[in-house]
């Protein structure tokens, strides 16, 4: 069995808005093993970043409940100073937008070097520079000596993302969280960056949480996939199972909204509306039911739980059994199917 690196148990992350707390992450449980890529997919606003930030301890005014076990140590509410011993060393993070993720006033070399300096005070200045140059080479940046002294605005988006990656992997972290690392980049650059991440993963034997809303990326990179909707995981399985036998209606809708799998737009079972904002989430009942109004209200579960349907394949709610979702069926047909 592979070694468990991270285990998140019943995580709930709530933000205070006016005088109330609203959960952006609700009852999320997942685990990541060494040398494994767990992809997290879901629409924008479903809480993917909130989840990643909770693991990294980057929320400054959120209520975090549940457990985040990193190598058996609960880091869910660890003090900043203890957290800082892990962040940047044992766990690294790659952010979505490389244009804003770097300090505009600091030389590239210093920004990467800072990650080294913070976790190894004894490293001499020359040694540190050598290591930074090595890192720049490793992430595929040409003329590293020159780039070392450049400022972020002098580099392209793709190059900046390589710098961000170099910073994240400077201390060879065991866990790497990549929050939509290619969303802000051109398509051609995207695949280069993904290849790089894959290469580094094999190199470092790290566990990776890859957040994305691109199923193509998932297919290419992931070992396992968790699908999130409105702060909750609605389905989690290994990548083959999920692609071959998606069960939750939301997962199915994700597959159907990928343009090349949809033969004809009119034939999609259309998921209505958008992810509700935090304050507008239904307080009880299933968070998703409102988006498939063509399904009979009585068919929904009151408190959908995650059920293990086969080894390692969890689906929130069992009511999917009541629905027959023939491939490419229209919503009218479906409605007909359940009633």
């Amino acid at each position: 069995m592979s070694e468990k690196l991270l285990e998140v148990k019943n995580l709930k992350t709530s933000f205070r808005i006016k005088d109330d707390y609203y959960a952006a992450v609700d009852d999320v449980s997942l685990s990541v093993n060494k040398n494994e890529v767990l992809a997290i997919v879901g629409e924008s606003g479903c809480g993917k970043s909130a989840l990643a930030f909770s693991i990294m301890g980057l929320h400054n005014r959120a209520k975090i409940e549940g457990n985040i076990l990193f190598k058996d140590q609960d880091i869910a509410n660890l003090s900043i100073s203890n957290l800082n011993k892990l962040r940047g060393k044992n766990m690294g993070m790659i952010f979505q937008d490389p244009l804003t993720a770097l300090n505009p006033l600091m030389e590239i070399g210093d920004q990467i070097g800072e990650a080294l300096l913070l976790h190894n005070k004894d490293l001499s200045k020359t040694k540190r520079k050598e290591k930074v140059i090595d890192l720049l080479n490793k992430v595929g940046i040409p003329r590293p000596e020159h780039v070392y002294e450049q400022f972020p605005h002098e580099l392209s988006g793709g190059m900046r993302q390589r710098v961000v990656i170099a910073t994240a992997i400077a201390n060879e972290p065991e866990l790497l969280i990549a929050d939509e690392p290619t969303t802000a980049l051109d398509v051609t650059i995207q695949s280069q960056i993904l290849d790089l991440i894959k290469e580094l993963k094999d190199d470092m034997d790290a566990g990776i949480i890859l957040i994305t809303h691109d199923l193509g990326v998932v297919a290419e990179m992931a070992d396992r996939v968790a699908v999130m909707y409105a702060g909750q995981i609605v389905e989690i399985a290994d990548v083959h199972t999920l692609f071959e036998k998606p069960l939750h209606p939301y997962t199915r809708s994700l597959f159907n909204s990928v343009p090349n799998t949809a033969q004809a737009k009119s034939k999609l079972h259309v998921i209505q509306g958008i992810v509700p904002s935090l304050q507008n989430l239904p307080r009880e009942g299933c968070r998703f039911s409102a988006r498939i109004p063509w399904i009979d209200a009585s068919a929904h579960e009151e408190h959908p739980e995650l059920h293990e349907v086969s080894s390692g394949h969890f689906v929130r709610c069992t009511c999917y059994k009541h629905f027959d979702f023939p491939e490419g069926s229209s919503k009218e047909e479906q409605h007909h199917g359940i009633s």
Binding site: F53, N84, K85, N103, E114, H153
Partner: protein
């Protein structure tokens, strides 16, 4: 570094048309002012013919471009004309006052930043705390208080009632220039006006710095720094402060402009012999050659302030250097 020099050179070249434009504007304004120094100041027994003769002799009846050329020609040689009230060259009149105003401005700037930087940082770092609310309260009060009223109150309380500071002049009469006592007396004379001005001037900078810090705190690269494992103090010192103080450097030029306005009130109230007081007196006495000279110098100071701002900014902001 080469970029840096290019930038500075280009920036200095931009000043030339600015200053020419300024001089033309001031010249036109001076010509448009009603009457001239001869109108009110001279013995009423002097006949109008004699006045006309004087005007002719002074070149005041020449076409405007000749007058302008004469005026600029004089300026370039440091000749600002004659003050009718003081019966001496304007250049001589300005000499000592400009030095007084310079030191008053320097002292004000020092006090301004001494107050603004810590208050702005505290207010921004602990935003929405009681401390922040107190500091913000002070800035609102500062915005609402006219400088001349505040300066008067300060003068009354610390000058007259408590007697801690002198109430007029720039140095005690009888002090020997060059002695330690002379320097101390000079400093003693400018502390109160400088603090009065700084306490009002600083509120802009406090608010500006506060909002810059609150803004920078939420930037993505701060998350990157935290994700690297940087401690809170390092995050503040290395990442937030540098990036927030940068726009303050850009604000410096504006500060100079405020100072120029401020010295007019404060020097008048504290009877401090500087450019502001000279300006006020010359306006009321229609000593126009002095007024034009002072306005011109104020304008040049504002332009230089903006230049200084830009140079400081280009030194600290790599993004500007390249452009």
């Amino acid at each position: 570094m080469i970029d840096m020099w290019k930038f500075t050179l280009r920036r200095i070249l931009i000043m030339i048309p600015q200053i020419i434009l300024l001089s033309i504007l001031i010249f036109i304004l001076a010509k448009m002012m009603p009457g001239d120094a001869l109108t009110g100041m001279i013995d009423p027994n002097v006949s109008p013919e004699r006045l006309e003769e004087l005007r002719e002799k002074l070149g005041w009846n020449d076409p405007w471009h000749i007058q302008y050329a004469d005026w600029v020609g004089g300026l370039v040689q440091g000749d600002f004309g004659q003050s009718f009230r003081f019966k001496m060259p304007v250049t001589e009149l300005i000499g000592e006052r400009i030095v007084n105003s310079f030191w008053l401005s320097v002292a004000t700037l020092i006090f301004t930043y001494l107050i603004a930087i810590p208050l702005g940082i505290l207010s921004g770092r602990y935003n929405d705390s009681l401390l922040d609310q107190t500091i913000t309260g002070y800035t609102y009060l500062g915005f609402a208080t006219p400088l001349f009223i505040f300066a008067l109150v300060m003068l009354w309380v610390f000058g007259f009632m408590l007697g801690w500071f002198p109430t007029s002049g720039s140095v005690s009469p009888g002090s020997e220039p060059g002695t330690f006592a002379y320097v101390m007396s000079k400093i003693n004379h400018l502390i109160l006006p400088a603090i009065a001005m700084a306490l009002i001037a600083t509120v802009n900078t406090v608010q500006y710095l506060r909002s810059e810090i609150i803004d920078t705190k939420q930037k993505d690269f701060i998350l990157t720094a935290r994700a690297k494992g940087a401690s809170e103090s390092r995050v503040y010192n290395r990442h937030i402060l540098r990036n927030s103080l940068l726009p303050i450097a850009a604000f410096f030029g504006y500060e100079i402009t405020f100072l120029i306005g401020g010295t007019i009130f404060v020097e008048t109230i504290y009877n401090y012999p500087g450019m502001g007081l000279l300006f006020f007196e010359s306006i009321t006495l229609r000593d126009y050659s002095v007024v034009t000279a002072v306005v011109l110098l104020f304008g040049v100071a504002a332009i230089l302030g903006a230049l200084l701002s830009d140079i400081i900014l280009s030194l600290v902001d790599p993004r500007i250097r390249i452009k």
